[in-house]
Subunit: 330 residues, 2 copies
């Protein structure tokens, strides 16, 4: 099927770009130097390609991502990089065939993990603005976890506040400050793992021993503004023009088809005015007709993937396959 | 099951509020004075309650919504209130058991509908900022549709730019100006239907003969700021505190669990700092502990419903049922 025959809105990946991004990363951060973050794509079939590229451990944001990879036989080493006290989900992960490590940042999260039979954890240290214990609490928490019977594999710290910073020097400075805190905590905690980082900091975060990047596989407009990114944009949202007015046109891919938290999508052939539920209003450089195709570039890959049941795979404008985005929801 | 036993994030509706909103609307706009918009909830089970309340015609945003209602036996009179030139979807709608009317605003959309065997249309007139033909084109387009063999049932105009305006007088003025354009077009087009409006304008839009409100069933924070709204907030997002820092707490419902296009969710017991993929950072008025429940109020019902596979029904804090949100995607 030609890409223009896809019913719209349709999310698609450029297979050539996807393969190139996978190969580039496998050279830059080979094997377990990368622990790919599944939250970016939530797609088992894509995780399998990352596994085959040599990255056999994964980072997950939800228990559903962990259990999905475990059931697919990709459970060599799964890190749930978020805290949870959900006893049922912790128990399900503990009983899975996979090696599961969970992030903890409080006595309550340690105790919930231990009670559910989880065997291993990392101490999540607050180096950004979200979860994590203070550096000064990390040693105590590691001791508490060991007393509760958990193996403490090391520390985790996600410098999310640095991730999207366009200026390279400023970004590096934020990473350095955050990672100094993480290494300080590591001295108190011990263990082999120092895990953190993301696509925005994959090259400059030399403090951790594994990077949790996910977006690199298909990218989005936020990251492609960073001049030091070797990865190419590979995720697109195909739409059809359904209405043409004097000064603008309207296509059938709106905010229900893409994440809006990083702003409007991009479009190479004109200006984006705004998105509504099922539409995007555009000012085209050359006039458009009803039925013409418009290919948008989503601003944020993670929530965009989470809104679609299917990802279409395209090579040279031909749709050659489709993957179920099967690890969505919770 | 008590509501606090739901695995989180969990979307739930207060059944008492839902029933009250349904009853209030059935009094204000009885029978076919209301053509409920399914895009707000995308849930066949909820559409059935609206049908049983006397509103036997529905407004739909997507072919999937039309076909879902048709298959569920709720196809007395379905209006696809958006333009499409998708031949397969138009054909599927034409072949369904339902009475299907589509919106058209160009020769291309008329021709696509006629070619697919669609029998009826309304002329969509641009009274706001999205789709619709000019008033001056409406008569020609109606003639073109009739020549193509379509029954023209009337005109449609959606005053979306007025919908969220908080000031009542300003909102009424915007509605009046928009509806004068619609009635002008109706003179050229003819037909019985003059359809438009929404929850924000359901009481003041006295120009149309049917109102396309959808959000009224469960509401969201945008609409509840309007002092003239008789409907109550009934949609909530249950979350669990997973991390507590000195100055804030973090719960496990983020931007993948709610629509962000109308801004952050609301919370009665403190301040919302920001949402990330799977988390919301909060400053609570009273200190929170890990494991505590936090109930957020989503800012925009439509995209929030579209992100969840299930809606839980709650009465007096007991989860008494769950509905599949089955009309999502396209």
């Amino acid at each position: 099927m030609h890409i223009d025959e896809l019913p719209t809105p349709a999310l698609w990946a450029d297979l050539h770009v996807l393969e190139s991004n996978l190969a580039t990363m496998a050279k830059l951060l080979p094997g377990n130097r990368l622990r790919p973050h599944v939250k970016a794509h939530k797609t088992t079939a894509l995780a399998r390609l990352q596994y085959e590229a040599g990255h056999t451990g994964f980072t997950c944001a939800t228990a559903r991502e962990v259990l999905g990879l475990a059931n697919a036989g990709l459970g060599d080493d799964l890190l749930l990089a978020n805290e949870t006290v959900d006893a049922d989900r912790l128990t399900a992960m503990a009983k899975s065939e996979a090696r599961v490590t969970v992030a903890v940042d409080s006595e309550a999260t340690v105790d919930a993990a231990a009670a559910a039979g989880i065997a291993e954890c990392v101490v999540d240290v607050r180096v950004g603005f979200r979860c994590g214990c203070e550096v000064s609490e990390a040693g105590y928490l590691a001791d508490h976890a060991r007393r509760a019977g958990l193996e403490v594999r090391g520390v985790m710290g996600y410098e999310g506040h640095a991730m999207g910073v366009v200026d390279v020097d400023r970004r590096r400075e934020l990473v350095r400050a955050a990672m100094e805190r993480l290494l300080q905590a590591h001295e108190f905690v011990g263990g082999d793992l120092v895990t953190g980082g993301g696509t925005g900091t994959h090259a400059m975060n030399t403090w951790v021993n594994e990077i949790q990047a996910g977006s690199y596989v298909l990218m989005d407009t936020a990251y492609t503004e960073q001049v030091d990114q070797p990865f190419k944009q590979g995720l697109f949202l195909q739409s059809t023009v359904v209405s043409v007015a004097k000064k603008f046109a309207v296509c059938d891919a709106g905010l229900k088809a893409q994440g809006m938290d990083h702003g409007n999508p991009s479009w190479g052939e004109g200006e984006i005015l705004f998105c509504s539920d099922e539409h995007t209003n555009l000012v085209p450089q050359k006039s458009l007709s009803v039925g013409d195709r418009v290919c948008l570039v989503p601003a944020h890959i993670d929530p965009t993937m989470a809104k679609h049941p299917l990802l279409h795979l395209v090579r040279n404008e031909e749709v050659v396959d489709q993957w179920e985005i099967d690890l969505r929801h919770w």
